[in-house]
Symmetry: C2
Subunit: 451 residues, 2 copies
């Protein structure tokens, strides 16, 4: 770590002082992963400069390791022949993701550089809908026919002469019948440990046997993680093998999903690239639309308060508790929504569990409201008056119950109507709960204080 | 999926009607993973009933697959001999995690059932601090001595006679020298594809060579994911091999961390067990302390408003915009905080980048504030008066700038002082920004409107 820090400092200072030869020399001492990490942490305008300083072979490797959005920002400055070479080195799934990011004109130029086989591969991947596992799977390197012995299978793997960097993808191998239909997966370790004459289909595990290429990529990745699958065969609708989701692919999908859920939960679009190398204008764009939508939604609170303006004028002290009360409501709602959203993502809760969740969160809200309401009643009662204390206590009880119930329900409703549950984000729930809370507050105040 | 649903419905109805023989028969048709999932989705009081219906062998496998907290809830109802047998079947790392969950008296009884070797293994794992990779690593099944040929290594693996269910952990094998110091890791696929006389140390990759057992588990897991490491050797401080972090272990750690961050971001303690099988009282406990702390923090807003009570009395209309203004501030702050927290978790941003992040978020806040302020100025100006419009516009500009800056800084400050950045959660930031926003609002109102 510390050594890496020294190198980074030396490299940044060489770049700042425009000593590009020194910078190039320092870059040559780094591994592709280290260069990638350096680019991830560079200011957006420096990324293309650094990239042009790389040796050609290193540049190809680094390019392959970048996020699609970073790739699309880089290729604007590259000449066609370099570009097409780098593009040609990517896996079909990475090619498809990059093509999604670039304008149609650039996509056409990129495709033009591919050979006919590669173009067919990329085209096949692009045929699967965005967000499907077909878009993220790895190509099949070796598939074993049923009837093959373990000894023969090992020879087949050796003779396939897979390049070093792809070999880790051989740890789980799909077994198919004569029609290319998937029977299961056999672990490389099982082949090594088996008696030479054992048949591959007998060694193969059928648990979580395969997944359709059109299946949601997150669902497939969670299946891999839950069943500890080193390789999950991916099939077309006739059951024929078209690719493999490695555990490594699954990790990548899950990390992307987490980043997306995390951004969405705060009402922002995911960046899809590292923070420091993202242009400031893109940060603004990822947030401004949601902020405006939420602000428009928040005019609901203005309307509610206008309705109760007379009550407010009679008793200005009521306005003093507004931020505390709606803040507590928002917090309670967010706790419930976040818990349920995560449970939905993990598959612990499903859309059809709506009633069970609702019953539980109603109880939770009631208990939380009782605890907070009692504290509020005592403090406000002692500091202000028992009338005010009663209003605050009852309002907290009501707001917590409503907020937990509404907050837990919204992600499930989103899931039912086929929307990402994280879209009903925390700020969205806060806005709804704010408006509801204000109505509850003033109704209780009017009733208790007789105004 | 649909078939699973049918089975679940049949099973739940058998349990509800207390037809336990039928339920036991239905359970025998399920795989361990399916039973685990059924337990994850069962009401807390039903979990021990279902578990007692399982055949002994299945029960052992299911028990091993549960979360430590679920295990600790189950074992209260088990007899000592069953308990000790199940405990004995767990990996040392799972044993350590369960021991962390149970009372000392139960821990003593659990340990009493272990053989001396197992007790030593568990004791070694317990010697590493909670949250370290030493607590989560897998034991070494096979280690290869430098100087071993590929052919001999494969024979050694075969002769180790590793049980079926552990074989997937053989896909990456640590290479050590005569002193048990780690030289690197060799992939099983590399061994299979190599010429028989190649030496294992020549085949071994040294990238991300090893990690200390006391290292933070999340850091180690991210290293595995980033470098696509099937197996990461774990060493003691003298460099000697003590265990292996498999990619599968890494996935488990990352999922736990995501669940933790997600709960913390909403101001709740992580559940550490599936939602539906968590007792309601535990849900309340995971939330009530944070809610009370935040409510106490929110009394800051009450104090601010008391200071400006006279201004409020003069112009009640000002109170109407309070929820909208502080809501927008909270949203902006949360967007910034969530983005930076996620970037810190991924290693895209480090604590020493504080100034760069601050500069960027100040700019982002300024741009967002300009956009929202302009809209606010126009709408409030047209609906109310241009004086009010100016107050709203300027306040939105100031609040957005302050909120983005403060929101981005808090996770970095947390990281610097060695606290989980997710602890400065969204509700926490909202509370701080609420109070700051109110001060800004009333100062601007007084200045512009001359009151």
């Amino acid at each position: 770590m510390d050594q890496e820090l020294d190198q980074e400092v030396a490299l940044r200072s060489a770049l700042r002082q425009e000593r590009l030869t020194d910078a190039g020399r320092l870059l040559r001492e780094l591994s592709p992963v280290e260069v990638e990490r350096f680019l991830d942490r560079s200011d957006p305008h420096q990324v293309p400069i650094v990239f042009r300083l790389l040796d050609k072979e290193l540049a190809v490797q680094v390019f392959a390791a970048l996020d699609p959005r970073q790739q699309s920002q880089l290729i604007r400055g590259l000449r066609d022949e370099n570009l097409q070479q780098m593009f040609g080195q990517l896996h079909a799934s990475s090619q498809a993701r990059l093509l999604d990011e670039v304008p149609a004109e650039v996509a056409r130029r990129l495709m033009a550089g591919l050979g006919s086989q590669q173009r067919a591969d990329a085209g096949r991947v692009l045929g699967y809908p965005s967000g499907s596992v077909g878009r993220r799977m790895s190509p099949v390197l070796v598939q074993l026919q049923a009837g093959t012995t373990a000894e023969h299978a090992l020879r087949q793997i050796r003779e396939a002469r897979i390049a070093d960097r792809h070999r880790d993808r051989l740890v789980g191998l799909p077994v198919v019948d004569a029609d290319h239909k998937v029977l299961g997966t056999v672990g490389l370790a099982d082949l090594v440990c088996a008696a030479g004459e054992d048949l591959v289909e007998e060694l193969a595990a059928s648990a979580g046997a395969s997944v359709l290429a059109t299946e949601d990529d997150e669902t497939a990745a969670r299946l891999s993680a839950e069943h500890h699958l080193l390789a999950l065969p991916v099939t077309d609708e006739t059951g024929r093998l078209v690719g493999v989701l490695t555990l490594d692919d699954a990790v990548g999908i899950l990390e992307d999903e987490e980043s997306e859920d995390s951004a969405r939960s705060a009402g922002a679009e995911p960046l899809a690239q590292p923070y420091l190398s993202t242009p400031v204008t893109r940060l603004v764009r990822s947030r401004v639309v949601w902020l405006l939508v939420l602000a428009v939604g928040a005019t609901l609170t203005v309307q509610v308060l206008e309705v109760f303006e007379q009550t407010l004028e009679q008793l200005v002290v009521l306005s003093i508790f507004i931020p505390l009360l709606i803040g507590t409501g928002g917090n309670t709602g967010n706790q419930a929504a976040t818990t349920v959203t995560r449970a939905l993502a993990l598959g612990d809760v499903r859309a059809r569990d709506a009633l069970r969740v609702l019953r539980r969160e109603f109880l939770v809200g009631l208990m939380l409201g009782t605890a907070l309401g009692t504290v509020g009643l005592l403090i406000a009662g002692l500091v202000y008056s028992w009338g005010i204390g009663l209003v605050i206590g009852l309002t907290l009880l009501a707001i917590c119950t409503v907020a937990a119930t509404v907050g837990s329900l919204m992600p499930i409703v989103a899931k039912r109507i086929g929307v990402d549950p994280a879209v009903f984000s925390n700020p969205f729930i806060t806005t709804v709960v704010d408006a509801l809370g204000l109505v509850v507050y003033f109704l209780i105040a009017r009733a208790v204080l007789g105004i």
